[in-house]
Subunit: 325 residues, 4 copies
């Protein structure tokens, strides 16, 4: 009889990014993506999208270099949290418990094999809308903002990794993620993999770092749900001096309508224009793209990607830097 799946991780709950230009980064997420600044503490600003139910989903922390501070997972229950902590410790990747942070309770911190910092927790604080921000749409925590082209909620994260497979296997074996799609080298190692614990095609993606660096961030992603908003926000971005890396396209992997833009701190941000396809099959067979199909996997509707799409990540490293190090 097949081993039963692990259901202990419920979702990607938030991420922290580093920015060398804190105020400009906050302004980008606030004025262009319509997000709300919920709180500030020290060098960190806590933000959320208007359909994010929790207190915050994005933390921007001032730092010399851009990059990933940490990402956070929410367990499915207090028991599930305990089980996963035990599994992480057993796998040897644990750091230890923290008392909590703004917006959530005790969290266990650990690292992916590649070194990305992660935390997992159960207790969470919900966003409470002020009277003026309340909506008659009761399943929405807050009315739609009339600022920018407002994103609705956190969607996923994409991590660069020196050793793709090792990280993918960690997410599968220790945290219960399912590999939904992958792009394979000829030797069947992963060029990239898309994993989820939800019905989404991915909550986390892992892509090989073309520079061979460790622990870098490829992008974070927020969700619109309608392709039109990609075109709308592009108008805002172009005329306000932001850099669009990839204009609205349609992915093969995930089938999502999307675009990529750089926030002022240098981190890549993806915007999702629809839900892509959803996976309900509990016995889903991983979709395997071969290396030569990489371009079509990333771009179903097929204009060229920029050359450094697979090598640009944060913290920013150039080929030269890497070679000299």
């Amino acid at each position: 009889m097949t081993k039963e799946p692990i259901f202990d991780v419920a979702q990607l709950a938030h991420f922290e990014i580093y920015s060398p230009k804190l105020e400009e980064s906050v302004e980008f997420f606030s004025e262009i993506l319509g997000m709300e600044e919920v709180e500030r503490q020290g060098k960190s600003v806590y933000m959320r999208a208007y359909e994010d139910h929790y207190h915050n989903t994005l933390i921007i922390t001032e730092n010399d270099e851009a990059g990933l501070g940490h990402m956070a997972l929410r367990a499915r229950s207090p028991q599930a949290l305990e089980r996963r902590v035990a599994a992480i410790e057993e796998a040897g990747y644990g750091i230890g418990w923290i008392d909590g942070d703004i917006g959530h309770g005790p969290a266990y911190q650990f690292r992916t094999p590649d070194g990305h910092k992660v935390e997992i927790f159960w207790e969470v604080e919900y966003y409470q809308a002020s009277d003026v921000e309340k909506t008659a749409l009761l399943n929405r925590p807050q009315r739609r903002p009339n600022r920018g082209v407002p994103v609705r909620r956190l969607d996923h994260i994409n991590l660069l990794a020196k050793e793709t497979n090792k990280n993918v296997e960690f997410l599968e074996a220790v945290l219960g993620f399912n590999v939904r799609e992958r792009i394979l080298n000829e030797d069947n190692s992963d060029i990239a993999a898309w994993l989820s614990v939800t019905n989404l095609a991915h909550d986390i993606a892992i892509m090989g770092d073309a520079l061979g660096e460790e622990g870098r961030l490829h992008h974070i992603c927020y969700w619109y749900g309608y392709p039109q908003h990609l075109s709308d926000v592009a108008d805002l971005l172009i005329d306000r001096g932001f850099e669009i890396e990839v204009s609205p396209i349609k992915h093969g992997v995930s089938q999502a309508s999307c675009m990529y833009v750089f926030e002022p701190g240098g981190n890549r941000v993806e915007l999702f224009g629809d839900s892509g396809y959803l996976i309900f099959d509990p016995d889903w067979k991983t979709v395997e793209w071969k290396g030569e199909d990489t371009e079509q996997a990333i771009l179903w509707h097929g204009t060229k990607l920029p050359e450094d799409f697979f090598s640009y990540g944060t913290p920013v490293r150039s080929k030269e830097t890497v070679e000299n190090s």
Copy 2:
């Protein structure tokens, strides 16, 4: 040989509405529809949408009652203006010349047979974007605002009339409008008619006033160009206390995706979510809907219209008021 058409009127150029709640009306067009206040003079506020090329397309004037102040047509040339003024005077509907107003030069004022005030002019002032509002999209006079769900440009006006046919015939014979579609009574008189001098299905519509009043306004209309924006703006409207009269639907006449909302002053405003169909045939045969098809003519995708859709206009009159007068 057929008489050649008149090409002297180029477009509907602006409209003035009356509002008993000036500041609230301005806030609606500014904060929800993303329009810009360009100037104020006396009791009037001059506004425009971000793809309106002229100085202004909407004037809101404080007044005890809501309603139409006037609407303005732009002639195709100085000579065309002279020819139309002569024709209007000959028809006996002229008022006389004014020196101009904010945003345009000398204008000839007149009334429709039903009494709606109209002006026609040639000289116009163009909007000049400040450096910060300039856009790299050179055919657009101003970058997309990041406020509300911004409308792009003025689209059309719909007038209620006591005697539909008389007004339609005036627009045809004296101003050169073409009747693109009409809804007919059994005696072939017009219940409503849609007329244009452009490739749009209508620049002006005339509908029979169900209360038998004269000179009232049914609605003014601004244009989005994408149906998604109707849904977006509905979100803003509902949670900010505005009244949507008709949720996003699709018209039969004009084929436009649209919705109706009341601005705080009480005037009905239509929002257009696409261009509908365009008419390029120079010998277009008027599309005739029979009275029993009125509902489908107005609502191709067919939910019920509110009962007072054909009787509510501005200034507001009720059946009772009319009967007692």
Copy 3:
């Protein structure tokens, strides 16, 4: 410590509807919704949408009256299937095992408290596209059809019930469904409830049968993912003699863009134009709408529902029939 949730049901896998007009019903799903007839056996036709991964998701069976044949759930694992069968038997609603059907293996049949027939299984047959129907989009089981406005996949089912709460509690306690949203009477009994085991706002909805009947079907639903397709398919429906019950609207509950149409056999079919909002919070608090908010819960963008929206179901019963019975 909180009791841990049940994860044993993975998804709604298919449904069978009865039709007194088999061929017309098949033609509707095939020519208008672009679905494929995969197999026929006896009086039943097996169909699927182009992003349905299983052999079939819709069975249409010829029958004197319209209505629900059965609906099917897929368990998450063989062990999960056994656990649920034990729970159903213990609850006293079981019927018994069948060997399987076209497209799936052994299934356990049972009834909801209201009498709707349900089956649950683990083994499933996947659809295998012929060479010509294969697509380069590897996560899609079949290329997009160029017929009709093709739906992408099964979305959910909505059941009418005499006793709403009893059925809701059965789905929760015995099958592990979560109540995502509900509309409550003043006595806190359910007017309607939306439940899911997935991240969707509902896989199954239960609504009070306004006629007090048992075991009827309100509607089945297929998914487009883009609101534009609702408008597109409406064009096809209107000019091919099909009856649209509710034109494209936006739900409050689920936030979905949707429409309702009757297939020729008389069953109501909903079409979903987007994914609505998704629920990732493992501790989701049921959204509660009060009875007076029912209209806004169903229609966020608010045109009136037809009067018999809550009383029309299949098999069709009229008030009179019920009173005379």
Copy 4:
């Protein structure tokens, strides 16, 4: 006093393309773009889109090489036709009268300075829908087809020219076209120009032929009106072996959402996903893009164009062919 404009040309009425693969070309327009084959004669097939009001808008003629057969303009009146014929003859570009063709009456044929064949006529035959193809949407000549992703109507044509300016000036001076936008070299000669007699940003575009050839076709364009259909049709194209040259993008010039695809005969076909912006100002100042802005003029949402975008035209000529000739 300014000279008054010429209003004698109403619209682009149809075009004829040459195809070395007649049946495959017909199948592309029929099965993918949902167009109808209305008639065949000799080596020519006459087709139309479902919102084209005339008998046909596309003629595909079998020929050794792809390319433009001719394009046709409709005059605004019989008198207008006579005036334009006189002007063309005076300019020295006339060929002579033909009795007419399938779908239209007597036409005067001429050539652009670059040699593209053009005809202009007044009398036209309207498409008459069979009973089964009639629609309740009375302004639409035919119900929406349920085949492919059906285009709605002819939009525009884009011609390559050896000497851009000479052709632009001919269209302006002799036919009354208005230059709406242009891209200029440093010496102010045109790299490309977009001209119209309608409210569209262009009915005809002229672009410099990068190979220095004469009389070639860059593309013909049909119109959807909704961006979603570009994504829909891309799905069909990719999995049916057609070549997409440029995936869905947004133009700067015209602001249109669009894509480019090659029909099997080798001619480039553009598909328009919205109406772009419309021009109502009778005194429109030509929008001027400088040469260094060409990329942004063509691609507002900015992914790279293929290298041969400005050199590929039909009949197909390569750099080598040109150099050897």
